[in-house]
């Protein structure tokens, strides 16, 4: 029987995979993709809690919509930054993104 815990476990696993991707990958676009995975895991949590914890109302789904909005804005600005840095550095390797270091 699939219950609340299974959804929480699924979102935990996806969040963990995203965390690994953020820490291990060198390509900046791959880091952004891992970030999207983590935000998706958070959304699964919101919607599972909306289904299993609160009675009536769609507050969890509403918050998931706001998370999606912020994720869309973040990925647009992030990819623009990556393209802009790529134009100067000819690389998307995060180790080369040291413009603010001395």
């Amino acid at each position: 029987m699939i219950s609340f815990e299974h959804y929480l476990l699924l979102s935990t696993i996806i969040f963990g995979i995203g965390l690994y991707g953020i820490l291990a990958r060198k390509n900046a676009v791959a880091v952004l993709m891992s970030l999207e995975l983590m935000l998706n895991a958070v959304n699964i949590n919101f919607i599972a809690i909306n289904k299993f914890v609160i009675t009536g109302g769609v507050t969890g789904q509403l918050f998931a919509i706001f998370v999606i909005v912020v994720a869309a804005a973040e990925v647009a600005v992030g990819l623009a930054l990556i393209i802009s840095i790529f134009r100067q550095k000819k690389s998307v390797n995060l180790n080369d993104f040291n413009l603010l270091k001395w």
Partner: protein, 169 residues
């Protein structure tokens, strides 16, 4: 085991497989395609949680728009060798395995050992109507701020991606 459980297990397995594909693939184009599969898997999870509107939003915005944006960006910034375009650092892999493993282990332990009482089954008659009323009612300020955030993000993304103007007047 009912058919609902089987559907959940299959979609959860596909989603986890696709998420692993995103972070493990050596080729970043494959990573992006696995990301689309992962988004679709998450959308089916939303459908199972009776959030049909969110599932459709997920398919349209994530699988439709954001993944295309990511694939376009990959095409713009791709290096000379696409098969090695998504390397991982040795140190980062070690730290990532430790951090992600520890996180997943600890949170899973706390989820499984928690005593979930008073769980309900929130059956919604008209979820889209409720969402619309909340967006235009109690949460109207957050809704407008989100709209302004999107506008600023679009303008900012265009300005950043366009690059500094090379004016010599």
């Amino acid at each position: 085991m009912s058919i609902i459980d089987l559907v959940f297990l299959v979609t959860a397995g596909v989603t986890i497989f696709a998420s692993l594909g995103v972070v493990i693939s050596k080729n970043i184009v494959h990573s992006a395609l696995y990301l689309v599969l992962s988004f679709l898997g998450v959308a089916t999870i939303y459908f199972q949680l009776s959030a049909a509107f969110l599932g459709l939003v997920q398919i349209m915005i994530y699988a439709g728009a954001i993944s295309v944006l990511i694939i376009f960006a990959i095409m713009l910034v791709i290096g000379e060798d696409v098969n090695q375009s998504n390397p991982s650092t040795k140190k980062g892999t070690l730290i990532g395995v430790i951090a992600a493993g520890l996180f997943t282990f600890l949170v899973s332990i706390s989820v499984v050992s928690s005593n979930w009482t008073n769980l309900v089954n929130n059956v919604l008659e008209n979820p889209v109507g409720d969402l619309a009323q909340m967006l235009m009612g109690d949460y109207v300020i957050a809704f407008e701020v989100a709209a302004i955030l999107l506008l600023v993000a679009i303008v900012g993304a265009i300005m950043i991606a366009k690059g500094a103007e090379q004016e010599n007047d």
